[in-house]
């Protein structure tokens, strides 16, 4: 198999003509065209040019992954363009520089005219003044307008701490208000859908939520009702905002108008530790940030990765984390054959016993069911054990319904890794009946199960009862763990490090946010001990070393290193 790792995030674009402009008095060269929200090349905007110049233009409605609306006007900037003579050539100043005409109101030439940086294309010789006094005046006025009818209830607002209204108020707001008129009142705590609560008074009507829902998800549920300052966001009458992507609107809402029923009022955001992670609920492998505090996970948020999930994730994936915090998580080494009481000694005894079993096992008498929810590193180590005892292996397929945006029909996060490493074949699950048959016939005497309840997949309790050795590792109790002779408590992905390969061949790694529960250990750590005991191979004491070793040995991963995965991962040929 020819294997080639591609590390770049985007395919190399054809060379794009550059134009010279000035930002804040500095000469810079910027590409004439840049990718828009869909990645299509469009004329570079003033906002993009300022970003290249390292200057952040305040904005609310602009979002790089949404069509441009231009409605908040926060990004208004003063600008100038080269004066042109009747010969269509630039008019020069006495010192030879080209004369710049500052943009003014056509009907009131003494007043500067701003342009919205988010939507206005740059042109050669243009000068942008993102910090000029006129720009500041425009910004302050927009901010004041946004605040006059705002309830200013930050202390009880869930967005506080990650609110753009707060942030820009620090920069451009005034301490007092000159607004003495009665405020507009709008609906509070609107039940917009099963997962979303809306506070219309906090909404600044940037329409990000509407554009995301309409243009990214393809759902027309959200809209604006009423007129003028009474405008309010609402779901279409008689319907509820319930597609599988609604929680993304909470992320992109720049203020505290849209909140997640799951997360609101649970934790102040500034207390949260943020850890780069992945969603494990399907084969897409959306990049996430885990928000946790004091060993409790509070939320997932999507993390941008243009090769995978843009900046979105689905609601079902996002909310599928509660099991991490479950009370009944396995935290003890147990099992009917484990002959030791103290947990301190349990691991060493269990590892010693299991190593013994595997060393002695006759070729073909062992079978492995390893979950496609496990990491590449774990599957790689399990494969080593399986190879040693010439064992039959497989994983359990999980199929649901996919959609056209992110959610994949493959509900395992690492089916591709399982196949590439050789745990499952082309058709995952096809060996399960053979394993059942082997147990029934007595040829398979030892079954090793990681992260699956095999009683639900054709290897019932009656068969498990026939086994000489049932060695199980899992994180939550089930019928298989109940029958285990040795039960090794493992880790949720947020409690360890590792990598997955998504359905498109993206190898991605995730970091550790929480400590393992009780006496649980990361699977790759104890598997490494087992591999050493059983095969004598060593050298994988760190996740980095383990991954790099795997990438040398497993052809599909050739040339990829743990460090090279970075935050965004690497695409391999699958």
């Amino acid at each position: 198999m020819s294997t080639q790792a591609t590390t770049e995030q985007k395919p190399a674009p054809p060379p794009i003509e550059k134009i010279k402009i000035k930002v804040d008095g500095r000469d810079i060269e910027v590409p004439k065209a840049m990718p828009d929200w869909q990645g299509k090349l469009q004329p570079t905007t003033m906002l993009q040019a300022c970003q290249i110049a390292g200057i952040d233009v305040p904005h609310y409605c602009y979002h790089p992954k949404l069509p441009i609306a231009g409605n908040c006007r926060m990004c208004l900037v003063e600008f100038g363009t080269p004066a042109m003579g009747p010969d269509r050539k630039p008019v020069l100043n006495p010192d030879g520089t080209s004369k710049i005409l500052r943009s003014v109101l056509p009907y009131e030439p003494s007043t500067p005219r701003g342009a919205i940086a988010c939507a206005t294309p740059i042109s050669p010789g243009m000068e942008i003044y993102p910090n000029s006094p006129a720009t500041k005046v425009m910004r302050e006025a927009v901010l004041e307008s946004l605040l006059i009818n705002h309830p200013l209830d930050c202390p009880i607002c869930d967005q506080a701490g990650e609110c753009k209204l707060q942030e820009y108020s620090v920069d451009y707001g005034k301490a007092g208000s000159r607004f003495i008129e009665p405020k507009v009142h709008k609906p509070k705590a609107v039940d917009l859908g099963p997962r979303i609560v809306l506070d219309d008074e906090r909404c600044i009507l940037c329409t990000r939520c509407i554009r995301f829902t309409k243009d990214v998800v393809g759902d027309d549920k959200l809209g604006v009702v009423n007129r003028g300052s009474y405008n309010s966001i609402a779901a279409y009458p008689g319907t509820t905002f319930d597609n599988n992507y609604t929680l993304n609107t909470v992320d992109i809402c720049p203020v505290g108008a849209l909140t997640s029923k799951d997360f609101r009022f649970k934790m102040r955001v500034w207390f949260l530790k943020e850890t780069k992670s992945l969603c494990t609920s399907c084969g897409t492998g959306c990049n996430t940030i885990v928000g946790s505090r004091e060993e409790v996970m509070y939320r997932y948020e999507p993390r941008e990765n243009d090769a995978v999930n843009s900046t979105w994730m689905c609601d079902s994936g996002r909310l599928n984390y509660k099991w991490v915090n479950r009370e009944d998580r396995l935290s003890k080494v147990q099992g009917s054959k484990l002959k030791v009481q103290s947990q301190e000694k349990a691991w060493s005894v269990a590892i010693r016993d299991i190593s013994e079993i595997l060393r002695k096992a006759a070729a073909g008498s062992v079978a492995f069911v390893a979950s496609a929810r496990q990491t590449n590193e774990e599957l790689y180590l399990l494969k080593k054990l399986a190879t040693k005892s010439n064992a039959i292996t497989d994983s359990v397929p999980r199929i649901g319904e996919g959609d056209r945006l992110l959610l994949n029909a493959d509900r395992n996060p690492n089916s591709t890794g399982s196949r590439l490493i050789g745990i499952s074949g082309e058709k995952m699950g096809s060996n399960l009946s053979k394993i059942a048959e082997g147990i029934r016939s007595g040829s398979i005497k030892t079954l090793i199960v990681f992260g699956e309840d095999v009683t639900k997949h054709g290897i019932g309790a009656d068969l498990l009862a026939k086994l000489e050795n049932l060695i199980v590792s899992d994180i939550l109790p089930n019928a298989t763990t109940a029958a285990a002779h040795y039960l090794l408590p493992g880790c949720a992905h947020v409690e360890k490090r590792g990598s997955f390969v998504n359905v498109k061949g993206r190898v991605q790694r995730f970091m550790q946010a929480l400590q393992p529960k009780g006496n649980a250990r990361a699977e790759w750590e104890f598997l490494h001990e087992l591999v050493f005991n059983v095969t004598g191979q060593n050298g994988y004491v760190t996740i980095e070393g383990l991954f790099n070793q795997m990438s040398k040995e497993v052809p599909a991963f050739n040339g990829v290193s743990w460090a090279g995965l970075g935050d965004a991962g690497v695409t391999i040929q699958i």
Partner: protein, 475 residues
């Protein structure tokens, strides 16, 4: 003697003139259309050919026709911007939303001479290779919509519309679309959104210039009812002849809606620039003067969003003298020729050519409060400065007219308005801020006096009387 020049209104209000097609045909209707269809390709000096369509467009450019909807932009130029190479269909939309307060001219055409509009549209569509056109008519004109639907059916029955019109090989359909009652649907890009079935949120320009990315993201021409009627007359009498009507750069005729405290409010068609504001108000051929015993206080010259003129206001207008040099002539507000350029030079605009006259019985603060309430109600609310600012101004003015003014409110209002104009998505930002800016700049003393009086009353009432603000407009 200043007189009307009835070109568009020629037949309207004549006894026996009815809106049906037979009557229109009896009065020479659809002859200009036949003339347009009869055009053949013309050879140009450099061996190039000019198609009949190009010839019509050239005539419209030569006529100097400027849009009658509000901005006064050259119709021929607008048509020249249309992207004809996109491969997408080109649409034409007749803007019949006529909703600028004070304006009631398009409805005369729609109700009394619908075929004049339809003929103007067919010629304009033919000239621009348009196969599908719309008339967007405001929701408050149910009768107008009925009349137009009937007129379109008549035109279709006579094959002025439909397939292979009059054997020319040209196909055209025109549909009526009724608005639901929103001023912003008159703004051309808001109109387009509404026509597409969406909320009438005006589009940002760039990139959505109608001539390139208009209706259904296709090149689109939006013209006012009256503008399209003029096209018919241009083809009838030629662009050159039309350009001789009116004054240079302000050609043709225009229907002026005259309202307010004059003896004879109504609509009057004039040659552009040949009649002054004063004549329109006072001459017996027009408004016939103020009501008895009254003096003039102010004039809004171009629909309610135009900046107000104060009685007695003088402007320095540039005039070309006989020897070609430019001189500045001091001109009284009443002596301004009613045209596009003079009113602009005087700091206002002819807009939708609606003159609103106010005499000395008018409380200027009340008048502004009334206008502001309209604009606060009609702001679409898409962009921040207008959404929040329009209601803010209206609430402050409401407070002022309910006994809770402050001396500082004049400056307060000026600043709010300054923070709107030029910073919004559409020209509604100007429409709602210009009345405030101009009323207060020109009548500041009245605003300050009122505010100071309220303050004095409040403080003499003692410290317990806190600011009670009467229920604000629009709740």
């Amino acid at each position: 003697m200043p007189e009307q020049y009835r070109l568009i209104l020629k037949n309207i209000d004549q006894s026996g003139y009815t809106p049906d097609i037979e009557c229109y045909l009896r009065h020479g209707g659809y002859e200009p259309l036949k003339k347009a269809f009869a055009l053949t390709s013309k050879d140009l000096p450099e061996g190039k050919k000019q198609t009949p369509q190009e010839q019509i467009r050239q005539e419209v450019l030569n006529s100097g026709l400027r849009g009658r909807g509000g901005a006064g932009f050259s119709a021929g130029m607008k048509w020249s911007f249309v992207d004809r190479k996109s491969g997408k269909p080109i649409y034409l939309i007749c803007n019949a939303d006529e909703s600028e307060p004070g304006t009631f001219k398009d409805r005369q055409i729609i109700h009394k001479d619908p075929h004049q509009l339809i003929e103007g549209m067919i010629i304009s569509c033919f000239a621009n290779d348009v196969k599908l056109a719309y008339i967007y008519i405001r929701g408050e004109f149910p009768q107008g919509a009925k009349i137009l639907i009937k007129a379109l059916a008549e035109a279709r029955a006579k094959n002025f519309l439909g397939k292979n019109i009059l054997g020319s090989g040209y196909d055209l359909e025109i549909y009526i679309h009724r608005g639901a009652g929103a001023y912003i649907c008159g703004e051309e890009t808001g109109l387009i959104e509404s026509l597409e079935g969406k909320r009438a949120y005006p589009r940002i320009k760039p990139p959505y210039f109608p001539a390139i990315l208009g209706l259904y993201m296709s090149p689109t021409i939006v013209n006012n009812v009256e503008t399209l009627c003029h096209v018919k007359h241009i083809i009838e009498i030629t662009g050159g002849a039309y350009a001789k009507l009116g004054t240079p750069n302000n050609t043709g005729t225009r229907i002026v809606s005259l309202s307010g405290q004059v003896k004879k409010p109504g609509y009057y068609e004039i040659e552009v620039g040949k009649v002054t504001i004063g004549e329109l108000i006072n001459h017996p051929n027009f408004g016939g003067g103020l009501l008895d015993g009254r003096t003039l206080k102010a004039v809004i010259p171009g629909g309610s969003s135009a900046k107000i003129f104060k009685a007695g206001e003088k402007f320095k207008l540039k005039k070309k003298s006989a020897d070609g040099t430019m001189t500045e002539v001091e001109t009284d507000m009443l002596d301004l020729p009613y045209d596009f350029d003079s009113l602009q030079a005087a700091g206002s605009m002819s807009g939708s050519s609606a003159i609103i006259v106010m005499d000395d019985s008018v409380d200027i603060v009340e008048a502004l409060a009334n206008l502001s309430e309209f604009y606060a109600h009609e702001s679409c609310g898409q962009c921040t400065p207008c959404r929040e600012g329009s209601l803010w101004m209206s609430k402050a003015l409401h407070r002022m007219t309910h006994g809770h003014g402050r001396k500082q409110d004049a400056d307060y209002l000026l600043n709010i308005a300054q923070n709107i104009q030029g910073r919004t998505i559409c020209a509604f930002g100007e429409a709602c801020s210009w009345p405030v800016l101009s009323f207060i700049k020109k009548f500041k003393d009245e605003f300050e006096t009122k505010g100071a009086a309220d303050e004095a009353r409040q403080s003499s009432a003692g410290p317990t009387s806190d600011m009670k603000i009467a229920a604000s407009p629009n709740h």
